[in-house]
């Protein structure tokens, strides 16, 4: 019945738990960040559709429409420059909102969350790991977009501090809002398999109506009004205010960059995401008893 002592599978007794303290949040967040990042880069779908997509789109559109200039009168920029802010905004939305919404829905469905719930890992460390993954992938993606635009498509990047300051707060607010909204939205798909099918159209529609692919001013005004409810429109406009000449503000809905309203709308969505996300987050599937 039992194997010989030499081959017997034994395991040394566990260390006595006694005074050992639970690991701190910082340590755990780092462990989780490592897990999340490693999983992300090894998941080919995520890398292609979340990470490379805006880069590919920028390269594609800039190559196809390269000669067309966008603007009014004699204030024009080349197409790549006009397209860049929209692609940065899209990238932020994909790496934060879409990546969170899909990955958490899948992890809830396949039992990853349940397994974590059985360990002493606190929820905060799990989310910090996710946030770290969003920050790293999104920062890298944005940096690559800027490099691609500047080096390959001759886009002149802003040189004054004020614009980069605008870039910083729009980027941070947009990423934060996208992340918490992704957490909140992860409860919408009923299964992990449907997650991509549920999340992707939302993102796609928002891209079309938020002035990412077509200049916002070319949309019918009722559609502009609808789009203005959602954060992507403001994220894109905020990015345009960073990368386009001051005079092109005249192409915006009110003829100005509307920084105040941009900050307000993004902050409001951040708050909504936080409240809804923390209230609706579940470790287990709906049908799991």
């Amino acid at each position: 019945m039992t194997a010989s002592p030499e081959t017997r599978t034994v395991i040394p007794a566990a260390p006595q738990p006694g005074p050992a303290r639970l690991p701190g949040i910082g340590t755990l967040a780092l462990v989780r960040a490592g897990v999340e990042l490693r999983s992300f880069v090894r998941e080919r779908d995520a890398v292609i559709f979340l990470f490379l997509y805006p880069l590919v789109m920028l390269a594609l559109f800039a190559t196809v429409f390269g000669k067309e200039a966008e603007g009014i009168g004699d204030v024009t920029v080349n197409f790549a420059q006009y397209f860049l802010p929209g692609m940065i905004a899209t990238g932020v939305m994909l790496t934060s909102f879409q990546s969170m919404a899909i990955s958490i829905a899948v992890e809830r469905d396949d039992g990853t969350l349940k397994r974590l719930r059985a360990t002493p890992l606190p929820a905060s460390a799990y989310f910090l790991g996710k946030v770290a993954q969003v920050l790293v992938t999104s920062a890298l993606q944005t940096a690559l977009l800027l490099a691609l635009a500047a080096l390959v498509f001759d886009v002149a990047l802003p040189t004054d501090v004020g614009r980069w300051f605008t870039f910083a707060w729009v980027y941070v607010l947009g990423t934060a809002a996208g992340t918490v909204l992704g957490v909140a939205f992860s409860s919408v798909p009923r299964s992990g398999r449907s997650a991509t099918a549920v999340v992707t159209p939302v993102v796609l529609v928002l891209q079309f109506i938020s002035g990412v692919f077509f200049p916002f001013y070319t949309l019918p005004s009722w559609l502009q009004t609808i789009a203005s409810v959602f954060p992507l429109r403001w994220l894109a406009q905020g990015m345009r205010s960073v990368f386009l000449p001051e005079d092109l503000a005249t192409l915006e809905q009110t003829g100005t960059w509307q920084h105040g309203l941009t900050a307000a709308v993004l902050a409001a969505w951040l708050l909504v995401g936080l409240v809804v996300g923390t209230r609706t987050f579940r470790w287990r599937r709906r049908d799991d008893g």
């Binding site: 194997a3 034994v10 395991i11 006595q16 989780r32 002493p120």
Partner: protein
Amino acid sequence: MDTTGTISSGRAVRVRGLRKRYGTPRAGFKHAVAGLDLDIDRGEIVAVLGPNGAGKTTTVEILEGFRERDAGEVAVLGQDPAHAGRDWRARLGVVTQESRDLGELTVAETIRATARYYPAPRDPDDVIAAVGLGEKARTRVRSLSGGQRRRLDVALGIVGGPELLFLDEPTTGFDPQARRSFWDLVESLRDGGTTILLTTHYLDEAAQLADRVLVVHDGALVAEGPPGTLGGAEARTPVVRWTQDGEPRSERTERPTELVARLARETAGPDGEVPGLQVTRPSLEDVYLDLIGAAPETTKVAS
């Protein structure tokens, strides 16, 4: 709520009148657990047997804090699982019945990361070796076989060095050899003082590992006792089978030798042999099937 989680003696699990039902007012309710009592002492290994849908997983997941109960008292390591925190979880090990998560990390990465969630984990390399995944340590979880995945589940359940370990059908998909070495692993956990609640459909596994076996059926306890005495003494009464006048016969008797001697005198053929003679003592499996089939009122056996 009792929050003195550090008492090191006494009961590991105490359950009284546990009830849980599933369903909706419209579709109707069905009891999955209907008034279950359960005590597990520290260091004890208890196996829960019962047919599919008996309520084993429901019970275990209530004890793990995953599911909410409708009624009853539950204390696991002195705390109510519905309200227990990180300190409590650090003392538990959980292997759930089904899992299909953890794709892209390797076996070693997964176990090492999980070890770091605990205050006093086991050495991940020891754990990998103990479940026999040494050769697969650098393989991505996605490409493990079913039985190898299950071994990883067990590894993740014990890496935190739990005082109390829940194993819900841990050996599903194990090959016979893996099952034997899993048994050895459980024995060594027992030697280390780990309390274990195990569900299984393998009667030999229960007989081999458990100090005490519970049989549940339709959410209620049907029988309870050490594997050797389950079902009471008369359930173990030997059965003598033979053939007489072309008809199969059987008789249960405490004195099989006497019966065989009588048969030899009265019914043996010219060659002195009783046709089709067999003397068997019911196995745990026979007793179990009896218990489940008849589902009589609870029979308790003193241990």
